[in-house]
C-alpha cells in the first residue's frame, strides 16, 4: 500500500513538473523563440546583477506587470532590436508560477558540473 502511494506521488510530481514545463513553453518561451529573444542571456543578466533568486523573481514580476525600459534588466540598445513586451494578461498566481518556472528552468545549479562528473559521463 505504502509502496503504491509513493509511486503515485512520484508519478503525480513528474506529471506536474512536465505540465508546468509545458505551460512555460506555451506562455513564455515559444514567443521568445519565435522572436529570437535570448531568454537565458536575460536570466544571466539578472543573475549577474542581483545574485539572489527572490530579488530576481520580484524584478521579473515588476517588469512583466509594467513593461517599461526602466523596469527591464536589458540595456536601451536591446529594445532597438527587440520590441518591448506587452503588459501581461495572466493572473497573479499563474504569473508568479511561470516566473518561478522560468528561474527554475534556467537555474545555473542544474548546469554546473565538476570535471570528474564530465569524465564519468
Amino acid at each position: 500500500m505504502v509502496k503504491n502511494s509513493i509511486i503515485f506521488i512520484i508519478f503525480i510530481t513528474f506529471i506536474d513538473a512536465k505540465s508546468s514545463s509545458i505551460n512555460l513553453e506555451k506562455t513564455c518561451l515559444s514567443c521568445h523563440t519565435k522572436q529570437k529573444i535570448p531568454s537565458e542571456l536575460i536570466y544571466r543578466r539578472y543573475l549577474m546583477k542581483y545574485s539572489d533568486s527572490t530579488i530576481i523573481k520580484n524584478r521579473i514580476l515588476e517588469y512583466l506587470k509594467h513593461p517599461i525600459q526602466k523596469n527591464s534588466i536589458m540595456p536601451k540598445q536591446f529594445f532597438l532590436k527587440f520590441p518591448m513586451k506587452n503588459r501581461t494578461d495572466l493572473n497573479q498566481t499563474i504569473l508568479y508560477q511561470e516566473v518561478e518556472e522560468y528561474i527554475n528552468f534556467f537555474d545555473i545549479k542544474k548546469k554546473l558540473v565538476l570535471p570528474s562528473d564530465i569524465n564519468k559521463n
Binding site: R44, Y50, I108, V113, L114
Partner: protein, 384 residues
C-alpha cells in the same frame, strides 16, 4: 671538588644557563613565528592566484550557454560559490561555519580565502577557496630551530662550565690552601697528642701523682686536641672514605662516648641526665657514628654553662641532646652548619662540628634539627 665549590658552580651555572636559555627561547620563538607567518603568507599568495584563476573561469562560464558548465576545479585547491544570501550554489566542497567577515583565516590546518566577486558571475557573490597548509616547510623550520637551540645549549653549557670554573677558581685555591694547612697540621699533631695521652695514662696508673687537678686539665686539653685531629682527618678523607656499614649498638656507644667526655663534663660541673633506651641498633659505619655523637656531645659540653644541664634522650626513633647553654642567635641558625662557620668566637674550634654532623646525617638520610633560644638552651634532634 668541595660541596661549597659545587654549590657555587651550580648556582652560577643555573643563573647563567637559565638566563641564556630564556633569551634564546624568546628569540627562537619570535623567529619561529615570524618565519611561520612568512611560510603561510607564501601559501596564501598561491591561494590568491588561484582565486583570480577561478574568477576568470567563472566569467567565461557566465557567458557560456552549453548544456554543462564545467566548474573550475584544480586540485589541491577546493572552492565553492555562494549567492548574496550566503546560500550554497556549487563547488568542489561544502565547508561549514565559514567566517564570512574574514578575508583569510586558518581552521583545522586549512587556509581559507573568502573573496567577494563583482559582478556576480553565475550569481556568485562569495567565492571560498581553501587549501591544506603544507606542513613540510613549518616542520623543517621547527627542526632547524630545534637543532639550533640544542647546539646553542650545548655550547653555552660548556662555556658556562668553563666560566664557572674560572669564577670559583680563587675560592677553590683558598679552600685548597686551608685544607693543605689542616692536613699538614693534623699530621704534625698526631704523634705528640698520642704521646701525651699515653703518658698521662701511664702516670695515672704507675705513679701516685700529687697534681691530679693539673693532670685532668692536661687530659681534657689532649682529648680535645685528639678529637679535633679526628674531625679534621674525617673531613679530609670523607670524600674517598669507604664505609663499613654494620649494626651498631647506639645505646652502648653513647655510654662509651660519655665516658670519653666524662673529664670535661666533670670539670664543668655539668648535671648530666640520661634517658637512654637500651640496645638501640642502627646500621651505620662506626667511625661515622662516633664522629656524629662526639660532635653533638662536644658542642653540648663546650657551649654549656658551668653547673649547667645536659640531657641526652635516645629511643628507637631519635636522639635528642639538650643543653642549658649560651644558645644560638636566631639569625645564625640557618648558617651555623656551614663549614668554618662559628656563631660564638669565645670558645675554641674550627667551626667544623656541625658541618660533619650535617654531612653524616645527609649520608644516612636522617633528619637533623637545631632548636635554640639565645642564653637559654639548645636542643639538637636527629631522627632516623
Amino acid at each position: 671538588m668541595l660541596s661549597s665549590e659545587k654549590r657555587s658552580l651550580f648556582r652560577f651555572l643555573a643563573i647563567y644557563l637559565s638566563s641564556t636559555l630564556i633569551l634564546f627561547l624568546l628569540t627562537t620563538t619570535i623567529l619561529y613565528h615570524y618565519q611561520k607567518h612568512n611560510i603561510i603568507d607564501r601559501q596564501r599568495d598561491k591561494l590568491q592566484v588561484e582565486v583570480q584563476k577561478i574568477v576568470q573561469k567563472l566569467r567565461v562560464l557566465h557567458t557560456s550557454f552549453n548544456t554543462h558548465l564545467v566548474y573550475p576545479y584544480y586540485k589541491p585547491f577546493n572552492s565553492a560559490i555562494y549567492d548574496i544570501n550566503k546560500k550554497y550554489i556549487f563547488g568542489s566542497f561544502h565547508p561549514k561555519n565559514i567566517l564570512w567577515d574574514r578575508e583569510f583565516y586558518i581552521k583545522n590546518d586549512t587556509l581559507f580565502f573568502v573573496y567577494k566577486i563583482k559582478p556576480y558571475y553565475l550569481g556568485a557573490y562569495y567565492l571560498i577557496v581553501s587549501n591544506k597548509i603544507n606542513p613540510k616547510p613549518i616542520q623543517n623550520l621547527q627542526k632547524i630551530l630545534g637543532l639550533f637551540l640544542l647546539i646553542a645549549f650545548i655550547f653555552f653549557t660548556l662555556l658556562g662550565i668553563f666560566l664557572g670554573k674560572l669564577f670559583v677558581a680563587p675560592m677553590k685555591e683558598s679552600m685548597d690552601n686551608l685544607n693543605r694547612f689542616i692536613q699538614d697540621t693534623t699530621h704534625e699533631l698526631n704523634t705528640p697528642i698520642s704521646t701525651i695521652l699515653t703518658n698521662i695514662e701511664l702516670l695515672e696508673t704507675l705513679y701516685d701523682c700529687n697534681g691530679k687537678k693539673e693532670m685532668k686539665r692536661i687530659e681534657i686539653a689532649s682529648k680535645t686536641l685528639s678529637r679535633l685531629y679526628d674531625d679534621l682527618t674525617y673531613l679530609k678523607l670523607n670524600h674517598n672514605y669507604h664505609r663499613d656499614i654494620k649494626s651498631i649498638n647506639i645505646s652502648q656507644l653513647i655510654y662509651e662516648r660519655i665516658d670519653f667526655f666524662s673529664t670535661m663534663i666533670e670539670s664543668k660541673l655539668i648535671n648530666l641526665e640520661l634517658f637512654i633506651e637500651p640496645n638501640i641498633i642502627l646500621k651505620m659505619d662506626k667511625n661515622d657514628t662516633i664522629r656524629l655523637i662526639d660532635n653533638i656531645l662536644s658542642n653540648a659540653i663546650k657551649y654549656n654553662l658551668v653547673k649547667g644541664n645536659l640531657k641526652i634522650e635516645l629511643n628507637s626513633k631519635e636522639l635528642v641532646v639538650y643543653n642549658s647553654g649560651i644558645g644560638i642567635k636566631t639569625k645564625d641558625l640557618k648558617t651555623i652548619h656551614l663549614r668554618f662557620c662559628r656563631a660564638n668566637l669565645n670558645e675554641g674550634g674550627f667551626g667544623i662540628g656541625l658541618d660533619i654532623i650535617q654531612y653524616i646525617v645527609k649520608q644516612y638520610n636522617f633528619k637533623f634539627n637545631i632548636e635554640s633560644i639565645e642564653n637559654h638552651y639548645t636542643k639538637v634532634t636527629i631522627r632516623w
